[in-house]
């Protein structure tokens, strides 16, 4: 039986949403789904090599940021990059950096981004992937 497909448009560059994406990726990995991730605008900032581990911005409930980050630590939740890495090891996950998003953050080549990224692509690939997916998410 062919694997189900998840297409994730990842717009957010905030650790709260990236952590949520990591949890969902874990679920997809457990079910052997094929996953295509398109890193759009603000997410490209988080995927830059110099930002991935130092970026601690949150998108929601910003006044409780310290509590949120402390809770993640207390619960020993893996950093989102680790969660993404685990998912890649367990199922077929491809991470595409939107070329335009990369340029916005001065990322012009694949090497400017963390090793999780597989390639730099255009929006046409996202449209095709979204059409073919069983599940589409925009985070």
């Amino acid at each position: 039986m062919e694997n189900k497909k998840l297409c994730l448009a990842l717009f957010s560059g905030s650790v709260d949403k990236l952590t949520a994406a990591g949890v969902i990726l874990g679920g997809a990995a457990a079910e052997d789904m094929d996953v295509e991730i398109y890193v759009l605008l603000q997410a490209a900032f988080a995927f830059k090599k110099e930002n991935a581990l130092t970026n601690d911005r949150v998108a929601e409930i910003t006044d409780k940021k310290d509590e949120f980050l402390a809770s993640l630590k207390r619960l020993e939740a893996p950093h989102w990059t680790e969660a993404f890495k685990t998912a890649k090891e367990m199922t077929n996950v491809k991470i595409h950096i939107c070329g335009f998003a990369g340029k916005v953050w001065n990322g012009f080549k694949l090497d400017d981004f963390i090793d999780l990224a597989d390639d730099i692509c255009g929006i046409g690939e996202y449209m095709t992937s979204a059409e073919e997916a069983d599940i589409n998410l925009f985070i």
């Binding site: 949890v23 874990g26 457990a30 619960l75």
Partner: protein, 82 residues
Amino acid sequence: MTTEELTAIKVDKSVDARGTSCPGPLLAAKKAIGQIEKGQVMEVLSADEGTRRDIPKWCNKKGFEYLGTVEESGFFKIFLRK
């Protein structure tokens, strides 16, 4: 299966995922299931309430047999047969 039957069952693989939160236990189960043969029994130890509900659904999707859950003090023992 009853709690008595589950408690007495021969476990071929035990996965202790009590230190992780969702989706950690599910991923630990996924990793470990590859290490046992069809027909063998695995138990997953988890302190995560969500995992108690996830594992039966995961078994159903992947074609494994969910055998039942035993609630211990502060954690669950979730049994399945590959």
